[in-house]
């Protein structure tokens, strides 16, 4: 659970408890149960009345840190849980996710090292990652 990498720090009263799931929950036993924790957090934020978007890695090329199916849940205050790249592009994905929450229209993003701004937002490992960002409605 990549909580410590939040680019936008969460207010003290919103510090997320870890683990999110009780040990007794069968979800705590899921393969990649941290992925399930991200989905549970997305649902709980929505239930609490927050705007929520979900980013999912749908395809990777070459070397990339997170496999297809990895999730990042973003809340309307910029707080997020999970990871889609191990920290390289999360900042940009969070920005896009906030936009998707407002527009209500899903979006496909692609990050690689081919563009000239790669030193700013991209994957240092040389891979490319395609990410689907959708609002939770």
């Amino acid at each position: 659970m990549v909580v410590g990498e939040a680019l936008v720090s969460s207010p003290a009263d919103q510090v997320t408890r870890w683990p999110l799931l009780d040990a007794g929950s069968s979800m705590a036993l899921m393969p990649n149960h941290s992925e399930m924790e991200v989905l549970v957090a997305a649902r709980d934020w929505k239930l609490a009345g927050c705007g929520v978007a979900l980013a999912t890695v749908v395809k990777t090329w070459g070397s990339s840190p997170r496999p297809a199916g990895s999730h990042l849940a973003v809340r309307d205050d910029g707080f997020f849980l999970g990871s889609v790249s191990g920290g390289c592009v999360e900042g940009a994905v969070v920005e896009e996710a906030l936009g998707v929450m407002k527009s209500g229209v899903p979006k496909v993003l692609e990050f690689g090292v081919t563009n000239e701004r790669a030193w700013e937002v991209g994957l240092a490992c040389g891979g490319t990652v395609r990410i689907f960002v959708e609002p939770l409605q």
Partner: protein, 226 residues
């Protein structure tokens, strides 16, 4: 994603029923599918494959809309035969790795809840216990007792199942005699080739925790690089 779709996915995960989310990447439209579902024959094949290999698939046929298939499978299961010392770190590490662990040992003093807090303990005789667990291709069986009375009945059930990993703790010498006993019991050489013994990658492990690392590493290798 609709909140209702997310609720269903989470409920199915909790109920340990495999389910698959199909997303049209152009429109964002989503459908929930189960094994056997699909609009076309090729979609049914993609659904089956994604659930079987437990990996996401994106279709990329020319002209057709791109669809992303994400499977949500029940947890992998690890059945440890023998509530011995090594089972303590191994059950803890396997749980962290995402396995649902069951320890089988009819000896009450070994399979004591105080020794394995939070782990499912089964005190049936190993063959009966493993039959009841309905082993499938998402199961691991590792025998740890060194006692043929307990290990062998478990192995016989495991060898007749689709378990993706079968391993036995013990020296090369005890493994050779184990294989001879199983051969006498009617298992062929090719069936016995599935049994990994002595179980674990050769990393020079000494302590129970190190041996657990070596076993879990070999299980992971078998799962991810079959």
């Amino acid at each position: 994603m609709k909140t209702g779709t997310l609720d269903t996915v989470l409920a199915e995960i909790e109920a340990k029923r495999p389910i698959l989310l199909a997303t049209d990447l152009e429109t964002g439209e989503q459908r929930l599918l189960r094994r056997g579902d699909g609009d076309t024959e090729s979609e049914r094949i993609d659904v089956e494959r994604a659930l079987r290999v437990d990996a996401c698939i994106t279709t990329d046929a020319e002209g057709a809309p791109q669809v992303f298939y994400q499977p949500f499978n029940p947890p992998l299961r690890m059945i440890l035969v023998g509530a011995v010392h090594i089972a303590q770190p191994l059950s803890a590490m396997a749980t962290l790795t995402g396995y649902e662990v069951t320890i089988v040992d009819p000896r009450e003093s070994f399979a004591a809840a105080e020794r394995f807090p939070g782990v499912a303990l089964n005190l049936e005789w190993p063959d009966a216990a493993l039959e009841a667990l309905s082993l499938d291709q998402r199961c691991v069986v590792v025998t740890l007792t060194h006692d043929p009375k307990l290990d062998d009945p478990a192995l016989q059930v495991a060898l007749r199942s689709d378990a993706f990993f079968i391993g036995c703790l013990g020296s090369k010498k005890t493994h050779a005699s184990r294989l001879r006993r199983l051969e006498k019991a009617g298992f062929s050489q090719s069936e016995l080739a599935r049994v990994k013994g002595p179980v674990g990658l050769p990393i020079g492990a000494r302590s129970p925790a190190e041996i657990a690392v070596s076993v879990l590493a070999q299980v992971t290798e078998t799962l991810r690089k079959p």
